[in-house]
Symmetry: C2
Subunit: 332 residues, 2 copies
């Protein structure tokens, strides 16, 4: 079993694997497109049925796996129970040759409520590349909070201000370091001062990236370089590994108000959204509901604005704990 591994051999294998990886990636994109095309009419039908079911999405979110559930504070659950009405997930760049089928929009619809003015909060995630990273980036979404009702303590507003200052600086070709911006320093200070163990779920609407903001132009350039490298590899030509990008020594995660935002987006888009019916049914099964006895409590009672934290499960009459897990649950 003596093995002599020639470094050139290993490099050649790495290159062969890289060409294959690009082929696998193409197949994955085709499957996302296929999945979207086949499921779209079903999602439309599902939305029509859901529209007749009060609290459908609130009940689905109650059943969310712990990775998401841990970010929904009792006060967030209260807001969801009172006014969260619709969810729509779309692959908004699926037919855009310059975009990516991995880009995804999550559109939350709300009824009139005491917390914010908005009827719709749409969070868009673009799948972008830099020289040494690829993933989802997003822009902070403005939430028009009613007075004294912002559960993020100003984090969403501060993130919006930084994003606007960044755009302005870039447009002016002002290549000053982002970390010199007053809006940057302000947000860093706010995050540092924040005493909450976990931010409100609504801070997720201010998520930017788990890396840093990557513009469409930068991403196109990186994709072009990737494609050229791949073509050379396929022709058997020598290629250089892409150079590491210049490190401007800015720790962009200092200003990220919701570091797990990309994972949360993926979890909602790829689990809660496609499996919503399963989660909704679970919310009944876990309560041991006899369908003939379903009883949703009168919501009026809870609108006394007492400010007490009220468990969403109580609000919509479903329990989660103490019940056996649903039996018919797919394992494959």
């Amino acid at each position: 079993m003596v093995e002599n591994i020639d470094p050139e051999e290993v490099l050649a294998r790495f290159e062969e694997l890289s060409v294959l990886e690009a082929d696998f990636d193409d197949v994955e994109l085709e499957l996302i497109r296929k999945s979207d095309a086949l499921n779209a009419p079903l999602w439309k039908k599902r939305a029509e049925v859901i529209a007749k079911i009060p609290h459908f999405w609130t009940l689905v979110f109650e059943q969310a796996p712990p990775e998401l559930d841990s970010f929904i504070l009792p006060s967030d659950a209260q807001i969801f129970a009172e006014c969260f009405e619709t969810l729509e997930v779309t692959r908004f760049e699926i037919d855009d040759p310059k975009g990516s089928p991995r880009s995804v929009s999550l559109k939350f619809g709300f009824g009139d409520n005491e917390y914010f003015e908005d009827k719709v909060l749409e969070k868009k995630f673009w799948f972008r590349k830099s020289r040494d990273w690829e993933g989802l980036v997003s822009e902070p979404v403005k939430i028009n909070w009613k007075k004294g009702q912002d559960p993020t303590g100003g984090l969403t507003d501060a993130a919006i201000k930084l994003a606007e200052a960044r755009k302005k600086a870039n447009a002016a070709s002002n290549k000053a370091k982002e970390s010199e911006l007053p809006e940057y320093k302000k947000l860093v200070a706010m995050i540092e001062e924040s005493t909450e163990a976990s931010p409100s779920f609504f801070a997720w609407f201010a998520f930017v990236s788990d890396y840093r903001w990557v513009s469409a132009e930068e991403s196109e350039q990186a994709a072009k370089e990737d494609a050229e490298r791949l073509e050379k590899l396929k022709r058997g030509e020598k290629v250089e590994e892409p150079e590491d990008e210049e490190d401007d020594a800015t720790d962009y995660q200092e200003t990220e108000v919701f570091p797990q935002g990309g994972e949360i987006a993926t979890l909602i888009a790829e689990d809660l959204w496609p499996s919503a019916i399963k989660y909704y049914k679970q919310s009944h099964e876990q309560d041991g509901d006899d369908l003939s006895e379903i009883d949703v409590e009168d919501m009026d009672e809870d609108e006394d604005e007492s400010g007490d934290e009220i468990d969403i499960r109580g609000l919509v009459g479903k329990g989660r704990t103490g019940s056996p897990p649903a039996k018919k649950q797919r394992k494959a």
Copy 2:
């Protein structure tokens, strides 16, 4: 916001959702078939490249997520490092109208070794249904251990004996309770007496089900009943919820030697297998490898049969801890 929810209304919505769920399920099966068709030629090409890379699969398994990694004991890692050569994942019922595209075979290929006689260990998982469960079931795989080398302490052999006794009893239409079989009692006792916190990974080859064994006949019958119920729902006829099955008060999980076996199969088939190149590259990146310096240690040195536990990472010259995670890792 007073809501009057009529139980009949809720039941009607549940039925509409059930019809939709069946449509979503059909789409999912079509996508599994499509994925298999598109990826098959790439998996073939990948196998050709991998054949030239020593320890490819061992390195991939080293990078496995914690849900799998926690089941690979140091002594298992030793066996993998010495002789694990090939892996092949196939959807063996994909074109079988009576089977399921979710059924999956995991075929492990090994070189000559001091532990067992087998060159191939193939573990097949059938996607089956009972009246109130669906998921993967499997039969224990016989491993021909060399003398004194069974890291499962006889668990795989005992599981095989129970499976054989069960088949015999069923063939004889001997409807005695399975828990009365001496092979059942023996296996329960062995599992109870086992002092290891976690069994050897090789016990996974003896996995049966996280529910209980479900035969092809039972599954076909359950699928037929499901289909009939669905047809009635589509015609708007009244349907009865399927009756709960008779509970024979046997806790089949008492004899399950690897309770997480189905999840592990899914993780290998749906993550390690499709993303093997990514994990292989990670094993180099995490070590901060300069490709010109790759150095795989001479395996001969470790074949002294001293019986010491040797960390697989040392064996194949890769480290996992203390290195930064790979940067270019997809987040979508």
